[in-house]
C-alpha cells in the first residue's frame, strides 16, 4: 500500500510508475494516484468556491482569486502531462481512443492560446479603467473639494462608465478617432468621450469571437465512462475540462472581443466525483453572467464590478455637487473614494502579475502542444 511520505505528488508517481499498456488499463498504483490527484483538485476548487463574495482581498472572482485559479490550472497541466507522457512510448499515446482524444485536446489548446492573448489584451482595458478611476480619485481627494475638481472627477467617471459598457460589437468596428472629432460635432461631453473609446480597438482578429471559441472547445467534451474512466482517457479529460473551464472564467471576468452569447452551460459531468465544487463555481458565475449580460458590462471581475458601483454613485454625487457641500455627504463620499482608491491600488499591484501568469499559462500550453505533437509524430504508423 502507499506510504505516508510527504514527498510531492509528482515525485511519488515517477518513483512507482511502471510501463503499462494504455489499452490494458492502469496499474493499480496508477489508479490510486489518479484518485488522489482528483481529490486534490476537488479540494482546491472547494477552496475557490468558498471565497467570500465581498472582502478586501481574495474575494470571489477578484484579481487574486483568478491568480489562484490559474495556479490550479498550472499544477493540473503539470500533473496530467506527467501522467500521460512520462515513461510511456509513443505507441501507447497513438492508440485508440487516445488517437482521437489527444488531437481534440490539442485543438482546444490552440483555442486556449488565443483566449490567453485576447484576455491579456483585455487586461489592458481594465488598466485603462484603473487610470480613469485614478483621475477621479485624485480629484475627489482634494480637500476642500472645489467644484472644478468635482467636474473633473465627473468627466473621468463618465468616461469610465462608457469604457465599461462599451458594447463588444461596437468596439470591433474601428471608427477612427478622426471621424468622431470632425468640427461641429462636439455636442458636449458624452460624444467626446464615446469617441475616445472607439480608438481602443481590440488587438485580435476581426472575426474572432471569444464565445464561439468556448463553444467549439466544448464539443465532444465528455467524461470517459466505464473502464476508460480509470486509465489514460481520464487525465486527458481532466486536463481538457480544466482548460475549458479556466478559459471560460477568464472570458467571463475580463473583457475581450465578442463575448455575447457566452454559454453558461459547460458540459460538466456532475456525477464525476471531483467536479462538484468546479460545477458550483460554474453555476455561480453563470448566474451572475446571465443577470448582467443584458445590460452590457465590462466583465465580472470583482474589482471591476466594485468600480462600476462606486463610479455610478460618485457620478451622482458630482453631478449635483455645489461647493462647499454638506459634511455628512462629504464623509460618505470620502469613504467611497477611499474604497475606489483601494481598488485602484489592488489593480495597480495585481494586473501585471496577472498578465504574467496568463503568459505563463500560454507558455505551458505551447509546450504541452509541442510535446504531444512530437510524441504523436514518433508513434505515427509507418505504412
Amino acid at each position: 500500500m502507499t506510504g505516508t511520505d510527504q514527498s510531492s505528488f509528482l515525485g511519488r508517481i515517477s518513483i512507482r510508475r511502471n510501463q503499462v499498456n494504455a489499452m490494458e488499463g492502469y496499474h493499480e498504483q496508477e489508479i490510486e494516484d489518479l484518485e488522489l490527484f482528483q481529490k486534490q483538485l476537488s479540494d482546491r476548487f472547494a477552496e475557490l468556491l468558498s471565497a467570500p463574495d465581498d472582502a478586501p482581498t481574495e474575494a470571489f472572482l477578484s484579481i487574486s482569486w483568478i491568480r489562484k485559479l490559474l495556479d490550479v490550472f498550472l499544477c493540473c497541466e503539470t500533473e496530467c502531462k506527467a501522467i500521460l507522457l512520462m515513461e510511456r512510448d509513443a505507441a501507447q499515446i497513438s492508440k485508440p481512443p487516445l488517437d482521437r482524444l489527444i488531437p481534440e485536446l490539442l485543438e482546444r489548446v490552440v483555442k486556449a492560446m488565443d483566449i490567453c492573448n485576447a484576455v491579456t489584451n483585455g487586461v489592458e482595458l481594465v488598466r485603462h479603467c484603473q487610470k480613469l478611476a485614478e483621475i477621479a480619485v485624485s480629484a475627489l481627494e482634494q480637500k476642500p473639494l472645489g467644484e472644478g475638481q468635482a467636474r473633473r472627477a465627473k468627466k473621468a467617471l463618465v468616461s469610465l462608465m462608457s469604457a465599461m459598457h462599451v458594447d463588444d460589437k461596437e468596439s470591433s468596428v474601428q471608427k477612427t478617432a478622426e471621424r468622431s472629432w470632425s468640427f461641429g460635432r462636439r455636442s458636449g461631453n458624452k460624444d467626446r468621450h464615446h469617441g475616445h473609446y472607439r480608438s481602443l480597438s481590440w488587438q485580435v482578429a476581426k472575426h474572432w469571437s471569444a464565445s464561439k471559441q468556448i463553444h467549439a472547445m466544448t464539443m465532444n467534451l465528455a467524461a470517459p465512462r466505464g473502464p476508460e474512466a480509470s486509465c489514460l482517457p481520464a487525465p486527458v479529460y481532466i486536463l481538457s475540462l480544466i482548460i475549458v473551464f479556466v478559459m471560460w472564467v477568464l472570458i467571463a471576468a475580463i473583457p475581450c472581443q465578442e463575448r455575447s452569447g457566452l454559454t453558461t452551460h459547460l458540459p460538466i459531468n456532475k456525477h464525476v466525483n471531483w467536479t462538484h465544487s468546479l460545477a458550483g463555481i460554474h453555476d455561480k458565475i453563470g448566474e451572475e453572467w446571465k443577470k448582467k449580460e443584458k445590460k452590457g458590462m465590462a466583465g465580472l471581475l470583482y474589482e471591476m464590478q466594485k468600480m462600476e458601483k462606486l463610479g455610478q454613485s460618485l457620478i451622482e454625487f458630482t453631478d449635483s455637487y455645489q461647493f462647499p457641500g454638506e459634511k455628512e455627504k462629504l464623509d460618505e463620499v470620502a469613504a467611497q473614494v477611499a474604497e475606489l482608491a483601494e481598488i485602484c491600488r489592488r489593480m495597480d499591484e495585481g494586473l501585471v502579475p496577472l498578465q504574467m501568469l496568463i503568459r505563463e499559462a500560454f507558455h505551458r500550453l505551447v509546450r504541452n502542444r509541442t510535446e504531444f505533437l512530437d510524441v504523436l509524430e514518433q508513434g505515427a504508423p509507418v505504412v
Binding site: 492573448n117 472645489g146 468640427f183 461631453n189 475616445h196 488587438q203 485580435v204 482578429a205 471559441q213 505504412v383
Partner: protein
C-alpha cells in the same frame, strides 16, 4: 469680489485671464465649441496660454494665503474654489486642444517616402533558385507525402523596397510647430496635476495613428488558430510581408513615436515620456509580435524550415533595435516576448531538421521507380540539404547537438548506424548532413530490394548514389561540410554498384562465349561439338536479346555515367564475341541455316549496346547483318 492683499496688484491680470478662460469654455458657448484656439491664430493661442499661466499663479498664491489664514478667511476658500473651477475649465479646454492638434497631425506613416526601388538589399542570406524537378510528373502518389513540397520558396532576398530599414531611423511625425504647441499645452496640464488626462489623450490618438500605419504596412490581425489553419504557401508570403513590415515598425515607426514623446514631454522628465510611449506603442508591438509567435509554434514539417530561418534571422537582426527602442522597465514584456519568439524559432528549426531526418528514414513508398532511375526522394533530399548549406551561417549557430543515430551494436534493423569516430572535428551541422545522406542511402537500399531483377536493383543504387555525389560536388559549402573522405566512400559505393550490376547481368551472358565444353573430349584438332556450339549461339542470342530488350528501357540519367557503363560493357562483351565468332564461325557456316545461329555481327552488338539505359523500348529485331 475681493482678493487677498498680495494679489491686488495682479487683480486686473487675473480678471482678464479668467475672462479669456471663460470665453473658451466649450460647455458654455456654441462659438467656443465650433472653433479651436490653436487653429485660429497664433495670437489667440499665446493669449490663452498666458491666461492659463496667470490662473495657475493665482492658484498657488491663493493656496499660500489660505493656509496661512488657517482656513478662517471664508472668502479665500471661496476664491480657491473659483480658481479651481477656472483651472478645471482651462484644463478641459486644453485637453480638447491637445487632442485636436494630435488628430490633425496623426495620419498613417507615409510609406511612400520610404520606398526606394534602387536601394541595396538588406543583409539577409541570398539563396539561389532551386532546380525545377520535371521528373516529378511521374505520378506515384505514394511518393508524394514527403514530396508535395516544391522547394521553390527560395527567391532572392527581399531586395528591400524600403529605403535603408537596416538601422533605426527616426522621422518627424508632425510639423515642429505642432510639436511646440503640444509641448506648451502638456506643460500646463502637467503642472496643474492633469498628467493622467494628458497621457490618456495622447495614447489614444497616437495608437489609432499606429493602427492606420499597420494597416498600410499590411500587418494583419491573425489568431493562432487562423495561422494553424492556413496553407503554408499562403503563410510564406505573409511571413515575407511581416519581415519587411517589422523592420519598418521597429526602426522607423516605433522609434519615431519615441522621439515624438521625448520632444513633447521634453521639459517634464523621462518617466512621463516613457509612459506615453508605452501607452501608445505597447499594444501594437504585441500585436506585431503575435504573428511571429504564432509561426514559431506551428506544427513542424520539413517545408517550413527555410522560411522559419528567414524569420529567425530577421528577428535576430532586429533584436538590438528592439532593445534600444523598448529600453524602459515598463517595456520589459515586449523585449522578453521578442527574445522568447527568437528562441522558439530556433527550437522549431532544430525540431524540423530532426523531423526531416525521421521522415527521410521512414519514407515508405515501395513502388519501384521504373527503369531504376533517380528516385524523387533522392532529388528532394539532396535539394533540401543543398539549401541547408546555403543557410549554413545561421544553422551552424543553431544546430548544436549531434544527430541521434542508431548504435552499431544495437542490432536494430530499422535504423542505420554511423560511426562518429571517423568524423572527428566536424560541426554538428555537418554531422547532421552526413547523417541525412546515410539515412537516405539506407532507405534507398530498402527500396532497391523491391526490384525483382537484381541487376536493376544495383543500377538503381548506382544511379542514386551517383546523383548524391554529383550534388555534393556541385555545392562548395556542401562539399566542404560533407568532406572528401565521405565523398570518397560514396564514390566507392556507386562504383561498387556498377560492378555488381555487371556481374549480375553479364556473367551469364558471357558464359555462353566460353571456350570450355565445346571441344569434343580427347581431340586436339578442330574437334568441336557442332550441336553444343549451335546451342551456345542460340542461348547467347536469346540472352542478349532479352537483356537488350529489357535494359534498353532502363535509365541512367547522367550522360557520362551512361557512357562509362556502356563502354565498360562493350569492353567485355565485344572482344569476347569477336574472338568467339572468329574461332567458331566456320563451324556454323559449314552447316545448315547459319543465319539462325550467327544472327549478329560485332557491329550489330556495338550498335545494340548504344540502346542500353536510354529509357525507352526498341524494336525487337536488331539489324541483321547484311550479307
Amino acid at each position: 469680489m475681493e482678493l487677498p492683499e498680495n494679489l491686488n496688484k495682479d487683480s486686473n491680470g487675473y480678471e482678464s485671464a479668467e475672462k479669456i478662460i471663460l470665453r473658451w469654455d466649450s460647455t458654455a458657448s456654441e462659438d467656443a465649441r465650433e472653433r479651436m484656439i490653436f487653429e485660429t491664430d497664433r495670437q489667440e493661442a499665446d493669449l490663452y496660454l498666458q491666461a492659463v499661466d496667470e490662473i495657475q499663479r493665482s492658484l498657488s498664491n491663493v493656496s499660500i494665503s489660505t493656509s496661512s489664514n488657517a482656513g478662517k478667511n471664508a472668502n479665500a476658500v471661496d476664491d480657491q474654489s473659483k480658481v479651481n473651477t477656472t483651472i478645471q475649465i482651462a484644463m478641459a479646454r486644453l485637453e480638447d486642444e491637445f487632442r485636436n492638434i494630435l488628430i490633425t497631425h496623426s495620419s498613417a506613416l507615409e510609406t511612400d517616402s520610404l520606398f526606394d526601388p534602387s536601394s541595396s538589399s538588406i543583409s539577409t542570406p541570398s539563396h539561389h533558385e532551386l532546380e525545377e524537378d520535371d521528373t516529378l510528373s511521374n505520378d506515384d502518389s505514394s511518393h508524394h507525402d514527403l514530396l508535395q513540397l516544391q522547394l521553390q520558396h527560395c527567391e532572392s532576398s527581399d531586395s528591400s523596397t524600403y529605403r535603408s530599414t537596416s538601422s533605426i531611423r527616426e522621422v518627424d511625425l508632425m510639423p515642429s510647430e505642432a510639436v511646440c504647441d503640444l509641448q506648451a499645452i502638456a506643460m500646463r496640464m502637467i503642472s496643474s496635476g492633469y498628467l493622467r488626462e494628458c497621457i490618456q489623450v495622447y495614447g489614444s490618438v497616437r495608437k489609432s495613428a499606429i493602427d492606420s500605419s499597420f494597416r498600410k504596412l499590411g500587418i494583419e490581425k491573425l489568431s493562432i488558430g487562423d495561422v494553424q489553419r492556413l496553407e503554408w504557401e499562403a503563410l510564406e508570403s505573409k511571413i515575407r510581408r511581416w519581415i519587411r513590415a517589422a523592420k519598418v515598425c521597429v526602426r522607423i515607426l516605433f522609434a519615431s513615436e519615441k522621439k515624438l514623446c521625448e520632444q513633447i514631454f521634453e521639459c517634464v522628465g523621462t518617466d512621463i515620456d516613457d509612459a506615453c510611449f508605452m501607452e501608445t506603442v505597447k499594444g501594437p508591438a504585441i500585436q506585431l509580435f503575435n504573428f511571429a509567435e504564432a509561426i514559431s509554434i506551428s506544427r513542424r514539417s520539413p517545408e517550413k524550415l527555410f522560411k522559419i530561418l528567414d524569420l529567425h534571422d530577421a528577428l535576430m537582426d532586429l533584436l538590438p533595435d528592439i532593445e534600444a527602442v523598448f529600453d524602459s522597465k515598463s517595456s520589459d514584456s515586449v523585449r522578453v516576448q521578442a527574445a522568447e519568439i527568437l528562441s522558439r524559432l530556433a527550437e522549431a528549426a532544430r525540431g524540423i531538421l530532426s523531423e526531416f531526418e525521421s521522415a527521410v528514414l521512414r519514407e515508405p513508398s515501395r513502388v519501384p521507380v521504373p527503369g531504376g532511375t533517380i528516385h524523387p526522394l533522392t532529388r528532394y533530399v539532396m535539394n533540401y540539404i543543398s539549401l541547408i548549406s546555403d543557410y549554413k551561417q545561421t544553422l551552424i549557430e543553431l544546430i548544436i547537438s549531434k544527430p541521434s543515430t542508431g548504435s552499431r551494436y544495437s542490432g536494430d534493423q530499422t535504423t542505420p548506424d554511423m560511426e562518429f569516430a571517423e568524423l572527428e572535428g566536424k560541426t554538428p551541422l555537418a554531422l547532421h548532413l552526413i547523417w541525412i545522406i546515410v539515412v537516405l542511402q539506407f532507405n534507398l537500399d530498402g527500396k532497391s530490394k523491391h526490384y525483382r531483377d537484381a541487376s536493376l536493383a544495383h543500377l538503381f543504387i548506382m544511379n542514386n548514389v551517383h546523383y548524391i555525389v554529383q550534388k555534393v560536388k556541385g555545392s562548395p559549402e556542401l562539399r566542404e561540410m560533407i568532406g572528401d573522405d565521405y565523398l570518397r566512400k560514396l564514390t566507392g559505393k556507386f562504383r561498387q554498384a556498377a560492378t555488381s550490376y555487371q556481374r549480375a547481368t553479364w556473367v551469364s551472358v558471357l558464359y555462353c562465349l566460353r571456350d570450355e565444353g565445346l571441344h569434343v573430349s580427347g581431340s586436339f584438332s578442330s574437334g568441336v561439338s557442332k550441336s553444343a556450339l549451335r546451342e551456345r549461339f542460340k542461348t547467347f542470342n536469346a540472352m542478349f536479346e532479352e537483356v537488350h530488350r529489357t535494359q534498353a528501357t532502363w535509365l541512367i540519367p547522367d550522360t557520362q555515367l551512361r557512357e562509362e557503363l556502356r563502354i565498360s560493357i562493350s569492353e567485355k562483351l565485344i572482344p569476347a564475341y569477336r574472338s568467339f565468332l572468329g574461332r567458331f564461325r566456320s563451324h556454323i557456316e559449314s552447316g545448315r541455316h547459319p543465319e539462325n545461329y550467327i544472327k549478329y555481327s560485332v557491329e550489330d552488338l556495338e550498335t545494340a549496346v548504344l540502346d542500353f539505359f536510354e529509357g525507352y523500348p526498341v524494336s525487337q529485331h536488331l539489324r541483321k547483318r547484311s550479307q
